[in-house]
Amino acid sequence: MNELLEVRDVVAGYGDGPAILNGASLKVQPGKVHCIIGPNGAGKSTLLKAICGMLKVRQGDVKLRGEDLKGLRPDQVLKKGICFVPQERALFPKMTVRENLRMGGFSLEDKSDLEERIDEIEERFPILKERRDQHAGTMSGGQQQTLSMARTMIIRPDIVMLDEPSLGLAPKIVQEVFDIMHVMAETGITVLIVEQNALMGLKNADWGVVLDLGRTLFEGPADEVLADPRIQELYLGGKKAA
């Protein structure tokens, strides 16, 4: 198989604290939507933070196209083509929508076409055009999430990692978030998403990865993972009655 990103047996945690990840592995195929699921405390967010360089990888490997990412700072990982959208509050509330989009292109070496790239994003997401001079912090939760996801597309990254983008949003808005994710995938961006709502996440993904207690339990095509009895066990604390 031809992996874009490979995570193997990663051990990581916060500061000098105990390891949260204890051998997490993951294979990311180009152009697909990957969903990481698992119960609370499984280490889903921690895994994304370890990949993007916010946390130190103590053991194991993180490789993008075979190139080691271990020990790089978040700004360096970004330059390699992986963009991470953290849980909630990923925006600059007192900057305008347009300024937030400009910050999305901060890491671009060549800024000559930055404004055109932003225009392109505004065409794709008209709400951002409508609100361009408004402070980001004054928009609704769904609009803010749209902005933080759309903003990643400015640099045309290889991989976008989303940490629970649906958190705290009204159910009606949640599908919009997944729609944006599909737009990303259509433009050729590989998506890696962490989702608390396993059913919703897997239904919107091509590939599922199940994490528990800091390790990868298993991974596979999303529909197979969804049908796997081990999911029932994990989420309902027992085998489904036959």
Partner: protein, 292 residues
Amino acid sequence: MAEIIQIVVLGLALGGVYALMGSGLSLVFGVMRIVNLAHPSLIMGGAYVAYWGFRLYGIDPLIMLPVAAVILAATGVILYKLFFEREARSAKYSEMTVLLTFAVAMILEGGLATAFTNTQRVTSPEYATDAFFIGSVFIPKGQLYAGIVSLVLIGGLALFLKFSRFGYAIRATTQNREAAELLGVNVNFVGLASFAIGVGLAGAAGTLVSFVFSFYPSKHWEWIAVLMSLVVLGGMGSILGTVVASFLLSVIAAFVGYYFGATWSTLTFYIALFVVLLVRPQGLFGEKPELA
């Protein structure tokens, strides 16, 4: 009526210098969450650079301004590297910076007193004792020049923050450090550079202070409450707020000074500090404090 206009003019003339003194403090707090109690003693440092140039070589304080700004900015880099960088990830960072900068203020005061003694100093370029007259209203030239230079510098800072690439990085880091880092901002460098800019502005302000007020090394204690009240009234970390607060309070202080005497005019700032903390702790342009 002429009296009132005169008081307002005198208040406004000083407001600019206050604003420049406060904006460096506000910038450093906004980006780094450093409560820099040493800011006024660094301003004193700038004043002594001007004094040194004026007494020894007869150089105009306004010409010494960029020199003082650069010397103080370099001092800022050293201080940051020595004291603030290592602690940046600490959960108690802001609290620790209060103690650290308090110590820095003491050391600077001691150093300046050793070098220049505790005698009151002032630089006296010709314009410092001259004035313009419009009808019966007089505008002291020194204060007017200082005010104009301050506004030009603050305007420059505002344009820099609003439009330059590095200004975007500073604002982004102020508003959401983690998100800025994830978008490729080297937040450690932004911290260092903003601290240097903030301290450089203190140096620039010091050269203006040198001919607007008399100064001596331990005078910074008087300034700290004044500057804190400007930053708190403006809203912690908001430079625009600091500027508005500076003009507002210095005009009020001018009225208080005129009607109740100069001693009371300083009290304006202390009283404002208490009132703001009681009534509107987030200040004019600050965010509401989180209740967590």
